[in-house]
């Protein structure tokens, strides 16, 4: 087609270069400014993009901080398997801390056995921060995901309870990052703040980043519930009267099984997902998360409680 060069130019990589450069700059700043940083690594697409940038920032096999995963025990095995093999390939130290251990310790109590453990990750995360005395936790949150995240700084100061104080955020001027801490405090750092879901997929496509298979179209048993496609698993069985059907789906976001839903899709490659994302008219969270809809301010509230 004649207009191909035009289209390629429009989907050019130059803005990805700028985003990549900013992310690498931030990762190096963390490595230089903090004593005990760690990178939150779930095996999901955003953390894999960060890991790719970290490889470029520091050189292969030289990432100067450990990877940390807070495991709810309700993760898709495809993702945890992928996480383990990726960490091994990189020669990176992988620390896993489990919400179930917090439950055994009594620091996490569920209201009922079927409750999502997603919100309780904050407790286990803060326990890990205490245990390893981490002073900076690098996370793959993006500002386009959610309104509370749109307000958060790239270097986000947290008090000794891990709390975010939206009214007392440190002004972030130019690229001068005030990384000074009092004992017990830490920072959450978001190097891909300025990326959108589309940017992430374009980058995955451009860099040939491998992802867990769940991100691509596959057959899955689901039930339709309140406009969402709920995966039928041991943890999330069909309810009485619900019809279980098999559908071709993929996950736009991969998190705790009890609150993550796939979307209708036949996209089998990153390029096809780029195209689908261009045409999407529902947000990543809107299409996929069961736990964000309870209230408008649910993410803000969770962040104030120490959530990522």
């Amino acid at each position: 087609m004649n207009h191909e060069p035009d289209l390629l130019a429009k989907l050019s990589n130059s803005h990805l270069d700028a985003l990549e450069e900013e992310t690498i700059f931030i990762l190096r700043e963390v490595a230089a400014a903090f004593e005990r940083p760690t990178l939150l690594f779930s095996g999901g697409k955003d953390s894999l993009v960060m890991l790719k940038c970290a490889e470029k920032a520091f050189g292969i096999g030289r990432i100067p901080f450990p990877l940390l995963m807070i495991d709810t025990g309700h993760n898709f095995h495809e993702v945890t398997d992928f996480r383990d093999s990726r960490a091994k390939e990189l020669g990176a130290e992988l620390i896993v801390r489990n919400v179930e251990d917090s439950m055994k310790r009594g620091t996490v109590r569920l209201a009922h056995p079927g409750e999502s453990r997603n919100v309780h990750q904050s407790v286990t995360l803060l326990e890990a921060i205490d245990e390893f005395r981490f002073d900076a936790l690098i996370g793959g949150a993006r500002r386009d995901e959610e309104k509370a995240r749109a307000k958060e700084r790239i270097f986000s100061h947290r008090d000794s309870f891990g709390q975010w104080q939206p009214k007392a955020q440190r002004p972030e001027l130019w690229t001068l990052f005030n990384t000074r801490l009092q004992p017990g405090e830490h920072f959450r750092v978001f190097p891909i703040s300025n990326w959108t879901e589309l940017d992430v997929w374009q980058y995955i496509e451009r860099e040939h980043i491998e992802l867990p298979s769940l991100y691509y179209a596959h057959q899955r048993k689901i039930v339709e519930r309140k406009g969402l496609l709920v995966p039928v698993t041991e943890l999330t069985p069909a309810r009485d009267g619900e019809e279980v059907i098999e559908k071709t789906v993929r996950f736009r976001t991969v998190g705790d099984i009890t609150c993550t839903c796939p979307v209708d899709s036949t996209a089998a490659t990153a390029a096809e997902i780029v195209i689908e994302t261009l045409a999407a008219d529902v947000s990543e969270r809107g299409a996929t998360r069961m736990d964000d809809k309870t209230s408008d301010a649910s993410m803000e509230k969770r962040k104030k409680d120490g959530y990522f």
């Binding site: 207009h3 191909e4 390629l8 450069e21 700043e29 001027l173 000074r180 261009l278 045409a279």
Partner: protein, 437 residues
């Protein structure tokens, strides 16, 4: 299907969706008083350029009406109070360009957040509420916040400033109102030496001239706000100055094939000028001199690097360089312990002469003492007033002395060498933003 086919097949959907990306993103901020309709304007930009997803739009429907402001005011305290507290960053793209919006608060008490958003912006849209002005009168007074925000964004050297006169749908004679208001804005801008790119009449509520043009409305035949934003330049890199480079991170190799003789690589972002192999540099503070042996770009490809981009520099000999040091073109910069600055004060505790703070410039932390408050600026006029302290959100001229010499340039010449922040040694709060005079 190949990737190419897919891209081609998606073109129509993509442009209909307004999500195509392009070259460089434009970072712009919106500023104006409370209730001038900033959040509504941003909501309108997002909705009319089809950047809002249906679930987000559903979240802002109240009793059948769409409240565009709720798209950006995301914190519960903001929803309670109906105001914007902190900068929200929003992303959208048209066929021609990708945009990052910094939605800065209008309240005077949140000036620090506005300064934060402005420090990295390529453009500022200053919103003017026509209904709050005595628009029949060509000699009307502009609102304090209009003057204040314009002066602030100009002080911070935001490259493009645009006035958007809003709510013209709500006045009796929109044409006369726009004529008088744009006249008053032009007079003010000229007196304050603020270069203005354009003054656009808009109705954020009705969508006039925000995304879709309304030719002839208010006697205006120019571009809609979005069309105008698509044409604005990014922030020019400071390549005309001599080379300067703050060292961000030192990478050590015991032995390595990708650097010559396994020397250290100094990573950072080129502040001014360019760097290429063969040029001589002086290290501050050690004063030693070396020659650049190799330059790597941010992903370790050998390349000459201009201002604004990350670089890894390998020198031809072992010299003492740590994070926070500077590599400089020799004989061009004079480090100094004393500097006069324009200070935007952000702390709840006032700035008092005699106090010692931490100062961060580039990647270097030094102690800084406030020697003298020269004067406070009236933020509405920039007139100079005597003052013994700078209260929160005040701006003034201040003399600082540093524990060790720093290399600075006036902020007008370099945003990086000319900017620093003061951090309170007790609370660790970011207390002041300083622009070198």
């Amino acid at each position: 299907m190949t990737t190419m086919d897919l891209i081609a097949a998606s073109a129509d959907t993509a442009s209909a969706n307004g999500q195509n990306d392009l070259r460089s993103a434009l970072k712009f901020i919106t500023c104006g008083s409370v209730d001038d309709g900033k959040s509504t304007l941003i909501g309108r930009l997002l909705v009319d350029s089809k950047a809002v997803l249906v679930d987000h739009l559903a979240g802002v429907q109240r009793a059948g009406e769409t409240d565009l402001a709720l798209l950006t005011d995301g914190l519960s305290a903001e929803r309670e109070q109906g105001i914007t507290i902190d900068v929200a960053y929003r992303y959208f793209a048209t066929e021609h360009r990708k945009f990052i919006i910094g939605d800065a608060p209008g309240h005077e008490q949140y000036t620090r957040n506005m300064v934060t958003a402005a420090s990295s912006a390529d453009a500022a849209v200053v919103l003017v509420d026509a209904t709050k002005l005595d628009w029949q009168n060509p000699d009307m007074e502009l609102l304090q916040q209009t003057r204040r925000h314009s002066l602030l964004v100009n002080l911070l050297r935001v490259p493009s400033i645009v006035f958007a006169v809003n709510k013209l749908d709500a006045v009796e004679d929109a044409t006369l109102a726009f004529q008088n208001i744009s006249g008053a804005l032009a007079k003010f801008a000229e007196a304050a030496k603020i270069p203005v790119r354009a003054t656009v009449p808009v109705s954020a509520l009705k969508g006039f001239n925000v995304v879709d043009g309304k030719p002839g409305w208010c006697g205006y035949e120019g571009l809609s706000l979005l069309d105008l934003l698509e044409t604005l330049p990014g922030t020019p890199a400071e390549t005309a100055e001599a080379f300067s480079f703050p060292v961000q991170w030192v990478e050590k190799f015991s032995s390595s094939s990708d650097t010559s003789q396994g020397r250290r690589v100094f990573w950072g972002r080129v502040a001014t000028g360019n760097v290429q192999p063969g040029q001589t540099v002086t290290v501050l503070p050690s004063g030693q001199t070396a020659v650049v042996a190799q330059v790597l770009d941010h992903i370790r490809q050998p390349k000459a690097i201009p201002a604004g981009h990350s670089a890894g520099i390998v020198l031809d000999r072992e010299v003492d360089v740590s994070r926070g040091d500077w590599l400089l073109a020799p004989d061009t910069f004079t480090p100094s312990r004393e500097v006069a600055v324009t200070m935007a004060w952000m702390d709840d505790e006032p700035l008092v002469a005699g106090r010692v703070y931490w100062a961060l410039q580039g990647h270097r932390w030094v102690k800084a003492k406030v020697r003298r408050i020269v004067h406070k600026l009236d933020v509405n006029t920039l007139a100079e007033e005597d003052a013994s302290e700078l209260p929160p959100n005040a701006i003034g001229h201040v003399e600082l002395s540093f524990q060790e010499p720093l290399v600075t340039l006036p902020y007008l010449r370099s945003r990086i060498l000319g900017s620093l922040v003061l951090v309170d040694t007790a609370s660790h709060k970011t207390s002041g933003a300083a622009l070198v005079l």
